[in-house]
């Protein structure tokens, strides 16, 4: 897959929205260490992060936190 073709797929890759075979190809390209594409995937991660924060926050119940801490202290 050439670099220009990969240019616009990183957000979809991070969202898990690509077909598995394309995801595998993207992953292999990234693990080869293409610096340009590693910058792009970081930028794509920021985009996914920002999109995910467009929703109203909602506090979890106190039991959720207590359960988590209990599990951690057991370990």
């Amino acid at each position: 897959m050439d670099r220009r073709h990969l240019e616009d797929v990183y957000e979809l890759f991070l969202l898990g929205a690509l077909p598995e075979e394309d995801s595998l190809e993207v992953r292999e390209h990234l693990t080869q260490g293409c610096e340009h594409c590693l910058e792009r995937v970081k930028e794509a991660a920021r985009t996914v992060y920002l999109l995910s924060l467009t929703l109203k926050p909602s506090s979890p119940g106190p039991k959720a936190k207590a359960d988590l801490l209990r599990l951690l202290l057991k370990r």
């Binding site: 616009d8 797929v9 957000e11 979809l12 890759f13 991070l14 969202l15 898990g16 929205a17 690509l18 077909p19 598995e20 995801s23 595998l24 992953r27 990234l30 693990t31 340009h36 590693l38 995937v41 970081k42 930028e43 794509a44 991660a45 920021r46 985009t47 996914v48 992060y49 920002l50 999109l51 995910s52 924060l53 467009t54 929703l55 109203k56 926050p57 909602s58 506090s59 979890p60 119940g61 959720a64 936190k65 359960d67 988590l68 801490l69 599990l71 951690l72 202290l73 370990r75």
Partner: protein
Amino acid sequence: MVIIKESKSSGANKELRTEELLGRVADRDVEALESLYDEFAPKLMGLLIRILSTRPDAESALQEVFLRLWKEAPGIAQTKGSVAAWLVLMARHAAFQRLRAQRTVAARPARSPLGQGRTKEEKSAGKPADSGCQEHKARERRSTKHGSETLSFLSASPQLWMPRSEDIALADARLGLLQRAFNQMPKPQYRALELAVFDGYTESEIAAQLGEPLGKVSAGLRAAFTFLRHRQHAVLGTWTADI
């Protein structure tokens, strides 16, 4: 889309504090994890409830994410990347793994004893009683596998994808401006984007949902992300000659 107002407390100091907390979590400090939980759980819950619909499911996914953070903190801390971004992307994938499993169960055909539910065509074609079930299982395997390559990459190689803390700090400081810019996206593009971002559908599933050709949906999604990328460069002042 809800616009979250810019928080004056967000910025470099907050990111520094978060980095320090992550370092302490890597050293097995439960109180530090509790502080990160207090800081990020409400944002993650907003996202998880949108994806999973119910609070119990969202809280269960939230617990999974923080247990994973506890386990993987030493590796994440070494990357010097943004723990906020790590939490959000991991929360998304924890939720989608669950959502896909729920969809698979919901789509599973009811089995009748002794193959009594087989159609006349299946019986006359000599198909075994569970051939439909086998085809369904193959679909299930494909469906639950979606996103697994991405999740494996996110988990195994955080140093390759985690945005730098300072980049997320800058984006957080200008969140209101960015979200106003994002809201300018054309509506048809936004609908496809929403199905990918909040409903966990793949490109082909989105095409089926919208009743549109796959090529049109793929092109629309790519255009939507180009739009978002350009808006970020404009708001964050990060235009380069490479764009």
